[in-house]
Point group: C2
Chain length 194, copies 2
């Protein structure tokens, strides 16, 4: 039993490093950039808050677990900006996932790794639900902070709508509502259309 | 439907403020203090990671939901240090919980508020499990960073063991292991015994 506790504690202490991984968005009202640990908290809570309005019934504990672990690979690889051409870094991220989850007892290592892969490959309703929340969050933040990270990285309205259309698969009505706002805010703050 | 989405998004955007609530502990290797949002992520993930080793079967989604919302009241009240005489701030925190959860659709407002109260009152196995993880985390951080927040606030070994004995109720073997380390690290870094 003690060796299992030791393994879980080692894993959790290794995850301290995610608090130092910087994203491209700034939390509302703050001058610093957000880190991936606080982002992970917010998407997990959003997933639970939106659960009653899901179009398809999903296992919310599975969704939440995916969201709590989905970014920990950035401890090794750093955050990749969604609109960068080099956004896809699956092989490196998989190596990191394998390294990090191997700190855990074997049973949990396998479970977490499988969830992480499922999220990345978006192969289940839970993964699509989780992925759509993860994508939605910086859009909502940008809609509320004058398009800060979109402006800093010259992202166009068309890019935003294309990149985040995955949201439509699990939250179609929500995405319709958000995409209208993207167009309005894009016009207001002067984003390029294409 | 749209008004429900609007309510959930307003709630999640209000929670941005938790990223600016400072705790007394520093994440390992960082010179800044931790904020309550990243702490909430870490305890939620620890709760899931420890689930297979729980002494009593608990509803982990309930535990995780409690941990994701337990600190949001600090948006209004700030973080209270566990060892402060004025640690108990229940009435103010309850007011804040009522204000924040009222942003949500009514059904979720009631559910989240009930979970928050249950956590505070530690009236169920889930609340005890969640509370013990919340208490455990800064102990583990201090064990790994040379007792930083204990030293900064002159906390004694006896205070640490007393304040965190709630951990014994849901994780007795884990607490035995941790409390041995508290005594060892306390001696090493020169904490007062009483």
């Amino acid at each position: 039993m003690i060796e299992h506790y030791q393994a879980v504690v080692s894993f959790i202490m290794e995850l301290e490093k995610l608090k130092n991984v910087e994203r491209r968005i700034k939390p509302l009202g703050l001058s610093r950039y957000e880190n991936s640990a606080e982002h992970s908290w917010q998407v997990a809570l959003m997933a639970i808050s939106l659960a009653p309005y899901a179009e398809q019934k999903v296992d919310i504990l599975k969704v939440v677990t995916m969201l709590l672990v989905h970014d920990i690979v950035e401890i090794d690889t750093g955050d990749k900006f969604a609109y960068d051409a080099a956004h896809d870094d699956y092989e490196n991220e998989l190596q990191s996932a394998q390294r990090l989850f191997a700190i855990l007892p074997a049973q949990q290592e396998q479970k977490f790794l499988a969830l992480w892969v499922e999220f990345e490959q978006s192969t289940s309703p839970e993964a699509l639900y989780a992925k759509s929340i993860d994508r939605m969050m910086p859009v909502l933040q940008n809609l509320n902070n004058g398009g800060q990270s979109w402006l800093e990285h010259n992202v166009s309205v068309a890019q935003i709508l294309k990149k985040n259309s995955v949201i439509r698969q699990s939250h179609p009505k929500l995405w319709d509502w958000i995409s209208e706002q993207v167009i309005a805010v894009g016009n207001k703050v002067g984003l390029a259309r294409e």
